[in-house]
């Protein structure tokens, strides 16, 4: 080290130490750049971390580290007897952030809530097309069909009238697309002729106020002094240092250039755990990796054939090789951390001999099939090609020849939806809102055939249960129906459920109060740094 570098580094360290004593600044080595700062326009977790969770707040929120929905900007809500009207009672005195580009003159009211949703719902709203108008989550959660009207009862009360009872509606309100924006700020942007700035300079009522973004490099935030949760956030400054490469994130964490990093390489986790000064938190992810048969094509239209193939699959080997231990065998289509998970369901045990006999009993001999391997890496499937190879070898043992096919990701998603698709598709799902409906109805309902339901499976007894569960008001009643639905799913086996992955979050020892979020969000509201 040269003298100059030494002196500079020492001076920096001294300055940082002095600054740290007065100000708590946490550096988070994020995995990528946000696509923008309007959480309603995007669907990626990276954008939700940088915009939805840091800057904005919602009427209801997920309790940190869980999928339990708790009051947020609304201190309470009522549901009408017919389950079609949700009335939210807003907390008085909610402050929007004061920044270099906006100073609010009033507290949050029902007008802000109505604006936040109408800009997505109403094509005539001046902000509907301001930044391209692709409100994908709002559309994907069927909000345009579901919301009949949004009415201001008084300044602090707002009523959502729905076209049908929809129990997951409350969980949807905790999602990032439901972030509440300041109408006053939006009006200012509109007057200035720059409505697209809503996507570039975000302003909300969340824990941190946006300071600056240098594209692909750094995002800076500072504490929102008027945040509605007493004593929070604990940090004075939050910095996202955008670091796309996982190995480099690890080096930065080791060197103390960042305090927290997401998405470590599975191969690095063991080394991180033994590293001085680094703690690795872990939790089961809210996801499932599966292989979907095309249940409309023989012989996969026969549940016994599907179950036989499931029995031929050595899932433990897949967990060991593909997930390198960072996963667990999936037996249900929803993850174990989700309410209504039916632990009583028994998985089809790995038994190649029995599988072979079962196939022969069903008259299936010399079966050739395709196994589709995703071209991308996902938490629910870190290496689809390797997984497909293991499945191919397992199927070979029971006399089934499997050919592995793959396509470019867009093509893969498109072709795998096809009802006439040839072969079984490896895919998966990460939950959006912690509601079982988000897995069971999205991925296995009759409506999803030819779309997100890659098994093309429409089975009325299952369908009746999940549709009824949507309309019941209490979680306990809904859970019973979902538990039954999982039993039917296992009997019918439209998928081979393969794995739920674990999520690892390495961080420096001085980071206190961080909780891994099951929805994959990275939230720093309750985090502090130990001096």
């Amino acid at each position: 080290m040269t003298l100059h570098t030494f002196l500079t580094t020492s001076a920096l360290a001294l300055t940082m130490a002095t600054a740290a004593a007065a100000q708590q600044t946490l550096v988070y080595c994020s995995e990528g750049s946000p696509e923008g700062f309007d959480p309603a326009l995007y669907t990626s977790g990276t954008t939700f971390d940088a915009a939805g969770q840091a800057v904005y707040a919602r009427l209801v929120e997920f309790k940190t580290g869980t999928t339990e929905v708790i009051p947020g900007l609304a201190e309470s809500y009522d549901i009408s007897e017919d389950g079609k009207t949700y009335t939210f009672h807003l907390r008085p005195g909610i402050k929007f952030q004061t920044t270099d580009f906006f100073t609010p003159t009033r507290d949050m009211t029902a007008d802000d809530v109505i604006f936040s949703f109408m800009r997505q719902l109403d094509p005539e709203n001046p902000f509907h097309d301001a930044s391209g108008g692709t409100f994908e989550y709002f559309n994907a959660m069927s909000m345009p069909d579901l919301i009949e009207s949004i009415e201001k009862v008084d300044d602090l009360t707002v009523a959502f009238k729905l076209t049908r009872p929809e129990a997951p509606f409350i969980a949807n309100m905790a999602m990032d697309f439901a972030s509440i924006m300041s109408k006053e700020y939006a009006d200012q942007l509109l007057d200035a002729g720059t409505p697209d700035m809503l996507n570039q300079q975000p302003l909300g009522a969340g824990p941190f106020a946006f300071v600056a973004y240098q594209k692909d490099a750094v995002i800076r935030y500072r504490k929102h002094e008027g945040f509605y949760r007493e004593g929070l956030p604990k940090l004075d400054n939050l910095i996202f240092a955008i670091t796309p490469d996982a190995s480099v994130r690890y080096q930065k964490l080791k060197a103390g250039e960042c305090h927290v990093m997401p998405f470590p390489n599975p191969a690095d986790v063991a080394a991180m755990k033994s590293e001085d000064g680094i703690t690795v938190q872990e939790q089961e992810g809210l996801n499932v990796g599966y292989m979907a048969y095309n249940t409309q094509q023989p012989p996969f239209d026969n549940p016994k054939v599907r179950r036989a193939l499931n029995m031929a699959m050595d899932k433990q080997a897949i967990i060991d090789v593909v997930f390198q231990g960072s996963g667990e065998i999936a037996k249900n289509p929803i993850p174990p951390t989700m309410w209504s998970y039916n632990d009583a369901v028994e998985d089809d045990a790995y038994d190649p001999e029995a599988a072979k006999a079962m196939l022969e009993a069903e008259g299936v001999t010399d079966l050739s099939m395709k196994v589709w391997a995703m071209p991308v890496q996902r938490p629910y499937n870190p290496n689809a090609r390797r997984m497909a190879e293991l499945i191919q070898a397992d199927f070979e043992k029971v006399g089934v020849k499997a050919e592995i096919v793959s396509y470019e990701w867009g093509e893969y998603l498109d072709r795998s939806k096809d009802v006439d698709r040839d072969g079984a598709v490896l895919l998966g799902w990460t939950g959006d809102n912690g509601d079982p409906d988000n897995f069971l109805a999205t991925l296995l309902s009759c409506d999803g055939v030819g779309g997100a339901n890659r098994s093309q499976w429409c089975y009325q007894p299952f369908e009746d249960l999940i549709q009824k569960a949507k309309t019941l008001p209490t979680q306990a009643d809904r859970a019973k129906l979902y538990e039954e639905a999982q039993v039917i799913f296992k009997e019918q086996a439209p998928w081979a459920t393969i794995a739920h992955s674990k999520v690892f979050m390495p961080m420096r020892d001085e980071v206190q109060g961080y909780k891994v979020h099951p929805l994959g969000l990275h939230i720093f509201t309750e985090v502090s740094l130990e001096n």
């Binding site: 080290m1 100059h4 570098t5 500079t8 001076a11 920096l12 300055t15 940082m16 600054a19 550096v27 750049s33 696509e35 923008g36 326009l41 669907t43 930044s131 391209g132 108008g133 692709t134 994908e136 559309n139 994907a140 697209d196 996507n199 570039q200 600056a212 240098q214 594209k215 692909d216 490099a217 750094v218 800076r220 910095i239 240092a241 955008i242 670091t243 796309p244 490469d245 190995s247 480099v248 080096q251 930065k252 080791k254 060197a255 250039e257 396509y407 470019e408 990701w409 867009g410 093509e411 998603l413 498109d414 939806k417 895919l427 998966g428 799902w429 999205t442 779309g451 997100a452």
Partner: protein, 335 residues
Amino acid sequence: MLKFFLARLLTFVPTFIGVTLISFAFIRVLPGDPIIVMAGERGLSEARYQELREQFGFDQPLIVQFWDYLTGILHGNLGMSYVTKKPVWDEFFALFPATVELSLCAIVIAICLGIPAGVIAAVNRGKFFDRALMSTALVGYSMPIFWWALLLIIVFSGNLGWTPVSGRIDLLYYFPDTTGFMLIDSLLSGQKGAFASAVDHLILPSIVLATIPLAVIARQTRSAMLEVLGEDYIRTARAKGLAPIRVSGLHALRNALIPVVTVIGLSVGVLLAGAILTETIFSWPGIGKWMVDSIYRRDYPVVQGGLLLIAGMVMIVNLIVDLLYGVINPKIRKR
């Protein structure tokens, strides 16, 4: 000289049209629909898909889409990114200075080390220095950038702690972008230590990016020098009793520079290709990473506009190289 310049400038027109067409066709030849990629596993309804197709203009015949693109370019409009919803032009120029800064440092390192290495190797042909330098150059040329960068980070940042791991400046410093060039902005900011921090952050990425051009320049200089050193006028210069350093450093090198300058010009393309990996590893916010991300996302306007602008930059650099030939060798500009 002006005639020479204008003649070279005229060749820009067909190249520009060709690049426009290729950049438009290139991204569309790749399989993968941007709307499907955008929707991901979640998917979207047929009605919504058609709505978005219409919104992005994909329902129009290709020729109409190309015409819209072409007229947009002629009006200075490269379109809006499907992803960030920001003008391609703004995004490019927000990121371009970072790539230029890194590439310039890399090329300076490559030239300052590559040419002397080539000259030393040529003068010592067949001796230890020649073999050592050329073997090192071959290793440098063959080194996978990704691996090389990680190795340097682990050794110099992780183990020795001499350099920062990644980024352009320590996060402690915060000042608005004035020029986009961190070295200049850090000086303008007046913040103590900012410039030194910016320099520290440039060291490893510049070395990594310079490695391949350095090897190429060294090898090219050596072979050009060997050719020139066998010429009659060099023998004459030696016979006149000129000092060896004057013979090889002045008489031989100047004449050997033409192919070296060509290689330096061509290295700009190599630098941009290398920048893609270097920028990703060192979290360097430049256009290399921006282009790769946009290809994965099938962000047509960014890929098209980015390719066009990068091609434009390469063309300008090659024009400068052509003009330099004239400066180095007056015979060329008279042709």
